[in-house]
Symmetry: C2
Subunit: 623 residues, 2 copies
């Protein structure tokens, strides 16, 4: 069971979940040589109490660190690893290591998680097999490996041990805790269990609870291990261990990490060697030999008992177990959140990430969300390091800037490290932005629906000290907003805003968007539900230029304000001031203010607005 | 390995893939008691040559029949079963059987496949373990069970054996061959290998080839069986067989048969007995105990060797292997097709069914397609018997009617058994239908995009003897068209028509739809690519009523022809005759004819059509 020379506690090191990622990265250009350290965090005089009710009298933790903790102690970032990961995140442990750490693509100088700026820590979790105490460790009571005598552990227990390690390392605060998959579960637990310790949390490709399908896959894998005759009730030896069962478990898992699309692209129906079918039961399709290889290489570096304990901990993970709602569970958290999912992940789906986002939104937390477009399935959290690095790196930078610069004008000074620009880079503000700003009271809560690059919200934060939240459908713009420190949720507003309670905001803004949504009535009703006042702006279709074009010209109008030809206009509804006002009357919506405008003029149109206005801003509220 | 008393050849009977389906059906109301028969279809004097190059000198086939073959011999329907099915489709073999046959919900008097009308045959396929020769049968050469000495078989071999059975039964022609999953693969093979024997094929929830993900799941399952110490190189005994491996294989498969949604709904995170976690490795989640049960009950009724051979046959299934294109493969087929998929099926996805449909369309075959909305995943082909029954039953009836009534006016006389109406049930024809009909030359090929209930196409078939094809997005309307015998494909036209080659049709019709599509340019260009002439009709937005409403009233027009208010109009583009003509000029589209119309008047508007026409019909072509 052991191939480790330097590390006397755990049997395996250099666990490499991201083989695929590293394969493309021949040069780390990173943290260089690092050493896995071991610290004893639990001694018999103060045993560790576990969720299952049992105790561990001795716990060692294997960990690595990168970068330096600064004098203020405010730049520490904890990374939590997934099922088959370990403490070795980046660089190499020995010059002749064939592979870099499992997230070397994301962690290093100038990388997404920048070790020039941040002090990065990662530890092998409790129950693992890479240095930290687990079922393969010696049971101090028997002097033999625990095997199945190791107590069942939970994600919360893992996090508890990580906290003990940070205490020992004299880390007083975490700028951020970051993790994908099972690492994301630990990240969520951190935000809930240690709310004062964590400034930001980045749960990636994860969930608040395992669903029936995921439990089913885990259970089949465990059954394969438990049924292997070499399992010997968990007391197997390195020479005779349940290799077959573990390999089957791993291959089942591996299928769930890849998307159908990724497998089709990578393997299709390719045969490994031959052009003709072999007409026997040997592995002949490329995908079969790939999975055989994955199974075999995993068996060499991983412990079957650890596989049982870790998957069981994942199965037991359910944030809202015995509780009313996720919203309540998150109520006590104090950190900012960046939730990330990947479009093709079918193990922990975007929908499951949205569940986190919705609960945090309902609990009125500072949450951003980005669903990254990727064909790579669950493995995307290891592979999409460019897109992920831009989002996570920017989020860390913005969070650090906001913590260390609690002055008012944050956006005018904060420079996005990606675009090297401050967010106020528009050469000239849109006229409706200026007017909308004049309508918003200081210190209010504002939701900007279709927030674009975040400019309006940034202006409102700087000038009016508002609490800003944005919703945006475009992934690039979402990333930009996140990098600028604006809480932005990646979402199509047509889906509704069920995450927000009634009257969650003082204002909701729908700027130049009403005429582009499929169901204007549903969207306006939803905004009026979540905000006390809704500010709506749109182009006036009954402007005299439009009228005369249709009346005399007999064609669909094209004007400065409505510049699109009929066949490729994003404006799928044509409405005038009169139409909107009739609409409001029908829906019992109160119009508090109307500002009809001619382009580039701040002063409202006074005479015959439905004829002369080119666009209009309304402030509406519920009757 | 055997629990069969009556059936001396195969070890297992009453295989019950559709436990879920039957659970809800306490009363069969069906075919009553039936007997599985055995026929020897291959004798040593004429051995069966298999695709792998080997031969079988003796093959027995287990089969059941329901209903009666009529005097004309034109009412025979062959059903092909899936992985764990068998010949016992409907009814009971013995009065005390606990369950009905595996598709009893679909097959019986008055059911989807109506045994009052049709003579239904189903046989256990070659390599199975329910009566037909397979690896569990006695090898005549050794006098012992074949085990792994059984030759590797393919789907084509299975179909060949089915044909031998039909020859023995003196069936000269199949009205239809129908099957889901692996049964669908056999169905596709039938259409290709015996084109003159089959009048209609209904491949359900199937594919033209297994993809990498499906091969991977199959391979893991086989590995579990092959690695089981009790497998004994395939020469196991009933007392000591690879039960563990087979159960693991079955549970993996079972997960792929259910959708994530269905599992969540059915099990969620329910614990089987307790309210608290047990903190051990026993199965405690409801989904775990369900899968344990599925695995165990499967082991009792199925043979591990058969599992190996059948999954390998599925893995080898690839219609276009060593060939250029699916279109060429289907070129020689002569039957009508109804392809059915289920929206939540992730084993054989709607996309894979669409691949079949596209290839058949490209090969200019008579193909209908319906993607049935269902949360039940792959198992939907066993569970959604109501929706499936309406579509398949209607398709069979229409096909039988068309074959036995080769007269011209088929639609005026054919009555849909579901609605009890002929298709011409509109009380008054739409005026644009009448005019469009006048524009179509007899005996031409016509594609109606957005064909609705099929009325226009039916009229054109009856009156002009056209070859009719329809595309429709609404599932209910698609089913209606299929039941009426119109080749209709369930599809959103915005996705394009890549299945059709250039100039596949004489006419494409886009009636009152152009103004509702997101990308009119793309849609029109695609229609002009696939048809020589495109007939487009739409409401005229520059009619004088619209003009005056906007000009004097200042509101978005609402008229008889444009009856929707601005906020809930399906018309997301507003265009006039002038707009459309400018658009055609820009795109180099030739306008061959223009028929401006006022509602309910057949005579075209002659003076100032862009002002007076309420709607317009254009005939366009490529420049």
């Amino acid at each position: 069971m052991t191939n480790s020379e330097e590390n006397s506690v755990g049997p395996v090191r250099n666990s490499t979940e991201p083989e695929l990622a590293c394969r493309n990265e021949s040069i780390s250009n990173g943290v260089g040589l690092v050493q896995t350290e071991i610290l004893r965090v639990v001694e018999p005089d103060k045993p560790l109490e576990l969720k299952c009710g049992k105790k561990l009298t001795q716990v060692d933790v294997a960990y690595e660190t990168y970068g330096k903790l600064n004098a203020a102690g405010d730049n520490a970032v904890l990374i939590c690893h997934a099922l088959s990961g370990n403490a070795h995140v980046a660089g190499k442990n020995r010059p002749d290591d064939k592979k870099y750490g499992w997230w070397d693509v994301m962690v290093g100088p100038g990388k997404g998680i920048d070790t020039n700026k941040y002090f990065v820590i990662c530890s092998n979790f409790l129950g693992g097999c890479s240095g930290t105490t687990g079922p393969g460790s010696i049971n101090p009571e028997s002097g033999k490996p625990y095997g199945l005598d190791f107590p069942i552990i939970t994600i919360a227990d893992m996090v508890k041990v990580q906290k003990l390690l940070l205490d020992k390392l004299n880390v007083k605060q975490l700028l951020a805790v970051i993790g994908g998959s099972i690492g994301g579960m630990q990240t969520l637990r951190w935000s809930i269990d240690y709310p004062d310790f964590v400034k930001a949390a980045v749960p990636i490709a994860t969930t608040t609870h395992l669903g029936a399908q995921s439990i089913a896959f885990d259970a089949v894998g465990r059954n394969a291990i438990l049924a292997d005759p070499d399992f010997a009730a968990g007391q197997y030896t390195p020479e005779k261990s349940p290799k077959t069962g573990l390999a089957i478990a791993r291959t089942i898992g591996h299928i769930t990490y890849l998307s159908e699309e990724a497998m089709r692209e990578k393997f299709g129906r390719q045969l490994r060697n031959a052009k003709k079918y072999s007409y026997d039961f040997d592995s002949e399709f490329a995908v079969e030999t790939y999975l055989d290889y994955q199974g075999q290489s995993f068996v060499e570096r991983f412990d079957a008992n650890s596989y049982l304990y870790i998957t069981k901990a994942a199965d037991y993970f359910d944030l809202k177990r015995n509780n009313d709602s996720l919203e309540k569970i998150f109520a006590n958290t104090k950190c900012k959140f960046l939730v990330v999912s990947f479009a093709s992940d079918w193990l922990f789906t975007p929908k499951q990430s949205e569940e986190i986002v919705n609960a945090l939104s309902a609990a009125d937390k500072n949450v951003s969300y980005c669903n990254i477009d990727s064909p790579s399935g669950h493995d995307a959290f290891l592979l999409e390091y460019k897109k992920l690095g831009v989002a996570v790196g920017g989020f860390l930078d913005a969070t650090y800037y906001q913590i260390t610069n609690p002055n008012k004008y944050i956006f005018k000074n904060f420079q996005c490290q990606h675009t090297k620009k401050t967010i106020h880079h528009a050469t000239r503000a849109r006229i409706d932005y200026e007017l909308i700003e004049s309508l918003i009271k200081p210190n209010s809560k504002v939701l900007d629906v279709g927030c674009g690059n975040g400019e309006l919200l940034a202006r409102l934060v700087d000038d009016k000290n508002i609490t800003a939240k944005g919703i945006e459908i475009n992934q690039e713009l979402v990333t930009h907003c996140i990098r600028c420190g604006i809480a932005t949720i990646h979402r199509d507003i047509e889906r509704g805003l069920e995450q927000y309670a009634n009257n969650s905001f003082d204002y909701a803004i729908l700027s130049q968007t009403l005429q582009t949504v499929k169901e204007p009535q549903k969207v306006l009703a939803e905004l009026l539900r979540v905000a006390k006042k809704v500010i709506v702006s749109f182009p006036n279709f009954a402007n005299w230029k439009c009228r005369t074009q249709l009346f005399f010209g007999g064609n669909a109008p094209v004007t400065k304000q409505l510049p699109f030809s009929w066949d490729n206009s994003p404006n799928i509804h044509c409405l005038s001031l009169k139409d909107f006002e009739g609409f409001c009357k029908k829906l019992n919506v109160k119009i508090e203010k109307r500002i009809p405008l001619i382009n580039n003029r701040l002063s409202p149109v006074k005479f015959a607005p439905n004829l002369f206005a080119e666009q209009v801003i309304y402030v509406t509220s519920k009757e």
